[in-house]
Amino acid sequence: MLQALLHSKLKASFDNPSFRPSEDTLTSSVFGILQYLPDDTLWQIVRNSCGEGKQFLPETIGEIEYIDFWPKYRDVEGTTNRSYVEPDVLLVTKKYYVIIEAKKFDGGGQYLTQWKNEIRAINNEDDTKEILFVAMGGNSTLMHEEISVELKNAEVRTYIINRSSWFNLLNEIQKIESSKERNRLVTDVTQAMNRHGFIQIKWLNSLMHNKTISTESITTINRWKSHRIIFLEGFKKKININSINTIWNPIK
C-alpha cells in the first residue's frame, strides 16, 4: 500500500469514503510487503506460484539489487505505446530483469501486446540482462506461453511468459518458514490479500472436531412429537400447500 501511495496510485481507491480495492492497491500491498523478505525467499514464492512454466525459471536469480514499482520506460520504439511503458513490478539483479505484470483478478485480463511492449521497452534501455516475465493473475490457464518479440536490432527473440495466480501466490506465502519476523509479514500480506478477495486455502487437516455429537439425537428428533412438530414431520411427506394456515395456526 505504501508503494501505491508513493506512486500516486490511490486516487481511485479513495474516491468515496470507503476503500475500493484495485489492481494497484493489490500489487502494492502484496509486493510492497514481500519485498522485505530475503531475496531467495521472495524469488521462491514467485517462482513456485507459477504454473507449468516454473520449470523454465532459474532456481535462483541472485541478489536483488533493487525492486521498482511502476517504473516508466520512455524509449517506446517498437511498442504500441506513445509516451511510456510501465510494468507493475520489476525485480533487478545482476543478471536478470524480472517483470511482474499484475491483474486484479485471477481468470482473465493478461494480453500479448502488453507483454511484448514491456519486454521491448526494457530491452530498448538495457539489452545486457536476460528478461524473465511473470504474468500474475488475469490468466484463464496457468500453462506457460512462448512469444516472439522483435528487439531494437531487428533480432527476434523468444520469451516465455510464466503465468501465475494470486490464489497460488497466497498458498505459497503460507509456506514461508516460520520466524517471529516472518510471521508478522505473512499475517500482513495475507490480510491484505484477504481484503482484495483472496482467501488462503484451508486444508482438511485443520478441521477441528473435538465435540461429540450423539447419534441418540437422531432418535430423539425422530421421536419428537408436539402440536408444532407435526409440521416438521410433514417434510417427510408431501405437503398440501392449501393446508398451510392449519399448520401454522396464524397469530391473531
Binding site: F167, I201, W203, N205, L207, I218, I239
Partner: protein, 218 residues
Amino acid sequence: MESNKVKELQDALCDIRKAHRLICSFQQRMLDLAQFIRMKLDLPSLRLYKLFSEPINPEPDKNEKVVLSGKMWAWDFLYSYQLEYDFETKIYGQYEYAISLIQCLDTGFFDKEDDDPKYPDTFATEEDSESKLVFYVNRIQVNSEWIQWYNRHELFNDKRYMCKDFKKEVIDYPEDNEKVLLYSFPIERFIDEQSTIEALQEFADYCNKELDLNIRLI
C-alpha cells in the same frame, strides 16, 4: 411436555448446532480443495450441481422466490451431502474431455439394497459407511456431440459407483463414441496439499493410460 423429554430435545438441538457448524467448517475446506484441484489440473471453471435430491431452487438465474412445494423433502435442503463440482471441458489433440468431481459425504444409502433415500435410518451405519470423492471424466472426439455427459447424473445415483467398495472403472459407449472414466478416493486422501497432489497424480496417470489423454499437474 415432560421435563426429561424437553431436556433430551435440548441436547439433540445442541447436537444439531454442532453438526451444522462442523459441516460449514468442512464445506469451506471442500470449496478450497475444489479450487485447488481446478488450479492444479488447469481446468477452465467450476460449476456446482446438487445431487442425491433436487435443489430447492432449480432455476436460480430467474431470481424467483422459492416456494414451499409438495415435492420438497429434507434432503433438498442439504447441499453438501452429495455435490458435483463440474470443471467443464478441455481439448487435447483429437479429444475433448469433461471432468467433474463428485463429493459423496455418505455412502450409507448406496451401500444398502433399500431404494428409498428418504429414511436415513435404513442406510448402512455411519461407522460402516464412507465419505468419498469420485472423479468423473467423459471423453469424446473433438466436434462430436456430448450424449452420455447429459446422462451422467444417472451414474452419480448408481449404487455400483457410489458405494464404498467402488474404486475405478472405464465405461465404453461405442455407439456414442464416448468413453467415461470413474475413479474413487476416500476423502481422507485429500487431507493436505502433499496428499492431494499424490492423489491427483494417481488419478491423472490412470486417466492418461485409459483415455489416451495428457492430464498434467501444473
